[in-house]
């Protein structure tokens, strides 16, 4: 039974430095279990760094990251992945030299692909079935993004961190993605999504956090932000109603 509202992921005053650059300046973020939290903000606000810090791909220099009540700040990326965190990096993070089948088998850490989950993936992304034995590098941009998402859901995950899944995709593909993410939510998985597409953010998000200069400057319900043009302009510099 999913206890909606209890935090699955929590970042407490997290700071991250990359070389000489101080990117995150004390990020406080709570991702409730069982819903979709949208992480919004202008380019360079620190959204991707936040996701990579949760995955331990960048190390937090201060603060704590807690997942399911366990402190994962000092854990490495494979441990975090094996705790049930699926990560879909930005820019279609696939392995282009491997086939579609090999990409998915690689993500199935338990060794075997579950036929039922595969069926779900094929229903959501028919192209994956069509190009099953094709090299992932030869897929189109949208198909690569589908593969990247399929790889993250090929096994049950407690949390999916998805970084700009619609970046550079055609509107028709984005509409399909919205349906897929809604279906994913219905399975009970928690989603933390970085997104610039407001239509998608509003369609999927339950809660929202807005970042600016490496800090969370707003945290609340998605509906609240979606209905408040003035708040949107103040936080994001533009209105969602202009991006339907």
């Amino acid at each position: 039974m999913i206890d909606k509202g209890a935090p699955l992921l929590a970042l407490d005053k997290v700071e991250t430095r990359i070389g000489p650059y101080h990117i995150l300046h004390g990020v406080d973020l709570v991702v409730p279990e069982g819903g979709a939290t949208m992480l919004l903000g202008r380019n360079g606000a620190g959204k991707t760094t936040t996701a990579r810090t949760v995955m331990a791909l960048w190390r937090a220099s201060a603060g704590t990251v807690t997942f399911g009540g366990r402190d994962i700040t000092r854990e490495d990326a494979p441990t975090i992945a094996r705790l049930g965190v699926g990560y879909v990096p930005e820019n279609m993070g696939i392995f282009s030299d491997l086939t579609v089948a090999e990409n998915l088998r690689l993500a199935a850490i338990s060794g075997q692909l579950d036929p039922k989950r595969l069926e779900v993936i094929f229903n959501a992304f028919p192209a994956m079935k069509r190009f099953w034995l094709g090299r992932a590098g030869t897929l189109s941009g949208g198909q690569k993004q589908m593969l990247s998402i399929a790889r993250a859901i090929v096994e049950p995950r407690r949390l999916l961190i998805i970084d700009e899944p619609t970046k550079g995709l055609a509107p028709a593909i984005i509409a399909n993605m919205i349906g897929v993410f809604r279906d994913l939510k219905a399975t009970g998985v928690t989603i933390l999504m970085i997104e610039q597409n407001f239509a998608l953010a509003r369609a999927i998000g339950d809660t929202v956090a807005v970042m600016e200069d490496g800090r969370i400057v707003h945290h609340g319900g998605m509906a609240e932000l979606a209905d408040d043009d003035a708040l949107q302009r103040r936080l994001l510099g533009l209105s969602m109603s202009a991006h339907q």
Binding site: L57, A81, G93, S96, D97
Partner: protein
Amino acid sequence: MTTHAPAPSFIRRLLSGDLPRSRILTVILIAIVVGLVVAPFLVPGARSLNTSAKILIFIALVASYDLLLGYTGIVSFAHTMFFGIGAYGIAIASTRMEPGWTALAVGTSCAILLSVILATVIGLFSLRVRAVFFAMITLAVATAFSTLMSQLSEWTGGEDGITFKMPTIFQPAYRLFEEPVLGIVINGRILSYYAILIAVVVLFLLMLRIANSPFGRVLQAIRENPFRTEAIGYRTVFYRTIASVISAVFATLAGVLMAIWLRYNGPDTTLSLEIMVDILLITVIGGMGTLYGAIVGSVVFMIAQTYLQDVMVLVSKASEHIPLVATLAHPDRWLLWLGLLFVLSIYYFPQGVVGSLRDRARGT
């Protein structure tokens, strides 16, 4: 776009599902394999037999390096060290013990054990650092090992190396049949050649199996993006270390074969930096991350290295009245032309011969 008839399932299984995927490449590989099988009968003579045996040994050696460089993306300069460990294992065991099968078994086992320990230590301590530092560490370790082998002259023969005896059936004086077969006396050299051929086929098929296993896919993923591979749950240092150990073991076995063939080992034969450069060149020329590249690359390289001077003698004689051409074609300039051939081959085949042929078959 080239279409292919489906390969019989036993061939597919034998090659672990990794078919040549190009008709031209298939023809080339079949020609090479058939050529190597019939070489002692087709081109009799000590020199051609020696070239064929070196091709075979380098196929195993370069394929083992390709597991590291082509499949995992690790640049190591210590590969000849493991090659040398294999050869010295046989050399030392055969001189310190009664030459025979026991000496071969002891030498091989000790060499493999030492290689596994060294590869594990180097891997665990060094694979966490950036690729360029790992390459420098391996270069330092390989140089230190080579110096050590030269210094331990009582055991290794120092700079002069050591000669040793093989089991009776691998000795040149041994005759399997009284009468020649197809005009060739089946002596210990021929038997050594075919023993090496069988061993290389087995080693190559094993490497093909490893490269096409789920483990091999993880290595390929690490090569493409180690961070992404970590993010889906794989510890890259662990996998890189295992890849280093596997590669080292195969290189050691190639060294064992070299010792069996030459019945001699010294620093220049197995440990030199020149051999390391040759391995790198063959891997790149053949095509990184293909394994079949080791076959094509070794044949091209060894034939060029062995016979280019002969060709140049002919060209030089034919052009002796044309001053500049005769000077350039002088056999002493063979390394210049060999270098030029490599530059051109890398320029025109950046994916290596195998990669380019596969791309062409795919229509990309």
